[in-house]
Amino acid sequence: MTVDPTSETPPAAPSSPVATGGGLATLSVEDRPAADALPLDQREVVFDCEGVGVRYDGKRALRDVDLRIHANAVTALIGPSGCGKSTFIRCLNRMNDLIPGASVDGAVAYHGENLYHPQVDPIEVRKRIGMVFQKPNPFPKSIYDNVAFGPRVLGMKDQLDDRVEQALRRAVLWDEVKDRLKEGALGLSGGQQQRLCIARALAVEPDVILMDEPCSALDPISTSAIEDLMLSLTNEYTVVIVTHNMQQAARVADMTAFFSVDQGETGARCGVLVEVDRTDKIFTNPAHERTEAYVTGRFG
């Protein structure tokens, strides 16, 4: 399968599962199985990626990624700069669609549905699969309006106050901001802003939270708060995190995927997935020498 996300997305057909809300994951928070109810490898597969690759302007940046991401777990993507881990995580909610010249090949199944099917609405995808970025990026609006933004845009306006409160509670920010919801979000600390961005993602009731280096701009205390939050989120959500901080991966992730860079005969560099396994295995006895060399600091 080859999908060019830069091509115009066809309008959803009347029978489109997404158009009716039936094609992508429809489990409500209440319906989802409790975290740790099953061993990791027996939990539902949220993403099943086969042979996933990405090209930018025809130049290959990532190739042949086979990876399964299980529900109610934190999966960390680690690897040296340029290995394609951020490129890969953006494949999981079609963020690469927004990059001119980007094309994705291979198959990304989300709860068994082809995420890149022409009838799948990328906006719906990003509602179900939220994303938090390296630098906190709150809107220059009030704390309340930041969290309420997504629900308003998506027409989820019923019981908006409750929705905002629940999102802030889940992001472990409620107690710190409940008395100043109308104040500007830019007045929050960096760590609070990042938790606000997480609350903003949670407010639209996603199934998955993708985090691209969410703590790299934060101090250790704020980092600790976000890491605690990630762990608590797995009760209800599936979390995928890109991190340069290997100790962070070791602390928070159930599964860790190590990406690296291959250099072709022409000298072109391309990201590849080297190994994915339980985090304790990756950090005590990885199967591949390249993983060993990276996690021990001898490469990368």
Binding site: Q247, I282, F283, T284, P286, E292, T296, G297
Partner: protein
């Protein structure tokens, strides 16, 4: 590549090799003190034990520092954990050597055949135990994951010598108080030398874990 970290790991390796040498020396000297009643050997054993206790504390502090400051992972983590255990095993081996040396006493003045059997068995156990310690730290140095099996086979031989001592002591007339006292001391000496073999096996198993990541069996106590 973190050069400072690598230097710290190399220092830990060097410490283990040195501790292995001292522990083997302690066991050899303790055996000589036991069967030859050598005062020099007795002193040398206690000096070696004291030396190893000092090294043990230093190595443990080094391990603590490496864990705290370098957060080792993968093969580095396994190596540091192996050092932590091996450090303890070698210190215990030297401590058992000191226990053996303290049991040294001439047998009652009788030319009992059994005395020769017991003494020969203790000498064999001591020499074997020292050799096992050298083999185990050599395996650590060479990262040899197969030495644990060789050491387990050697340990069987040590155990057999120990059983021979016990059987011999049971067979002799110990109504004589002097003979009874000597026999009990030799029984204990055999037990402590048997434990030296166990510690060498523990070291070998930790080396296997360090190289392969396979969890070691339940620690041989002693």
């Amino acid at each position: 590549m973190r050069e400072g970290f690598q230097e710290e790991l190399d220092a830990l390796c060097g410490a283990v090799l040195e501790e292995g040498r001292v522990a083997a020396h302690a066991v050899s000297e303790a055996t000589r003190a036991l069967v030859d009643w050598s005062v020099d050997a007795f002193d040398a054993t206690l000096a070696a034990e004291a030396d190893l206790k000092r090294r043990y504390v230093e190595t443990e502090a080094q391990v603590e520092t490496v864990l705290a400051r370098q957060a080792p992972v993968a093969s580095d983590l396994r190596m540091v954990l192996a050092v932590l255990h091996i450090n303890r095993s070698l210190e215990r081996a030297a401590h058992n050597a000191a226990r053996v040396a303290h049991l040294a006493t001439p047998p009652p003045r009788r030319a009992l055949v059994e005395e020769a059997v017991i003494t020969d068995a203790l000498r064999a156990m001591g020499e074997r135990g020292a050799e096992m310690l050298r083999t185990s730290v050599d395996a650590f140095d060479r990262r040899d994951p197969g030495a644990d099996r060789l050491l387990a086979a050697f340990d069987e031989l040590v155990d057999r010598e120990n059983e021979k001592i016990a059987e011999t002591i049971l067979s002799i007339d110990i109504n004589d108080p002097e003979l009874r006292q000597w026999a009990s001391r030799m029984l204990f000496a055999g037990r402590w030398l048997e434990r030296v073999g166990d510690h060498a096996v523990n070291v070998g198993e930790r080396v296997t874990y360090m190289v392969t990541g396979e969890a070691p069996t339940v620690e041989h106590t002693g």
